[in-house]
Symmetry: C2
């Protein structure tokens, strides 16, 4: 009863290395490895893995979106999110997307192996410390438009540019910024964006 794995990770070197590592571990068999989020579903349908290991940062479709698609289209396949950043927001979104497990890349290999086995058995596996941080951050108090405006400011664009892109008045954009800044308890856009990001309020 070896566990069949699907591995999605964009950096080829890391993907290959992880593959090697998991194949060494007994009880595991990597049946598919892809480098883009939008190849996850096809690969899962073709190879029917028991568990899919998804990185978040991927071209095409991010791991969280891929997890959501997967849990609808291939219900037999459980999902473990594997990520570089233990950001609170990622965890919440991972859970919402139907992932059962959440492992950070600086965990030791045994933790990953253990998480995979338990997820394969239907358990939920989450780093308790991270779980606490997520609860502490709470749900996003930002409205949809406030999020839009903050996201649009990622490039460093000015109000005029953002207003144009979102078909809004410049005054309105400034108002949204203002209230986002208030809600994040910061002093300007840049800080507001950063802290909203960290809390997963995107």
């Amino acid at each position: 009863m070896t566990i069949r794995l699907l591995l999605a990770e964009d950096q080829e070197l890391v993907r290959t290395a992880l593959c090697a590592l998991l194949d060494l571990e007994d009880g595991f068999e990597v049946v598919a490895a892809v480098g883009r989020g939008d190849q996850v579903t096809d690969a899962a349908l073709a190879h029917r893995p028991d568990v899919a290991l998804l990185d978040i940062e991927m071209p095409g479709l991010d791991g969280l979106a891929a997890a959501a698609v997967l849990s609808h289209q291939v219900p037999g396949c459980r999902v473990v999110i594997l990520t570089t950043f233990g950001r609170a927001g990622y965890l919440r979104r991972a859970m919402e997307a139907g992932a059962l497990g959440f492992v950070v890349k600086d965990a030791p290999a045994e933790v990953l192996a253990d998480a995979i086995r338990r997820v394969a058995a239907g358990e939920r596996v989450v780093d308790p410390e991270l779980a606490a941080a997520t609860l502490a951050a709470g749900a996003s108090p930002l409205t949809a438009r406030e999020r839009d405006v903050l996201n649009a400011s990622r490039s460093g664009a000015g109000v005029a540019e953002i207003a144009a892109k979102l078909y809004l008045s410049e005054g309105t954009v400034r108002n949204y910024f203002s209230s986002a800044i208030a809600k994040t308890a910061t002093r300007n856009r840049t800080e507001a964006l950063r802290t909203a990001d960290e809390r997963g309020w995107l």
Copy 2:
């Protein structure tokens, strides 16, 4: 004549996986694996590797700095920088730090293996595409102070805060910003920081 390797990479999972991958490849032996930049020199002195594989993003001391120390203190050990981001500035700084090889993490495993072997033989190994980009970006036109001010603005701090931290007048800080913005051909700090970053003008 197997090649003795030192591996420095902060994410434990990736480190272990890379270890497994390299040990499988024949001709290689990983003699030390560390998770912090400031452990690199000690490990190199203790285990005398032929080649050190250094990630850039690491706590303690970044891979670039570690490479610089290494090439002075352990001259018999050649350095390959292994990084997530193919940023032009990283490559330049890696070369300045005395690294012989530079490999991006989304290269295939054979490229890494090949690079290690050639570096062990004393060759320089760099992705030609990246090399071109580095030359195109050119040397930094920013002065030391302009860099300081840009770096200090990373947190999203305002002029007052930055001025205090650098013991400068607020006017002076704004002047440095202004000239940095001009040199990057952008329209505000955020953009200036972003593009200076991308070009390795830090």
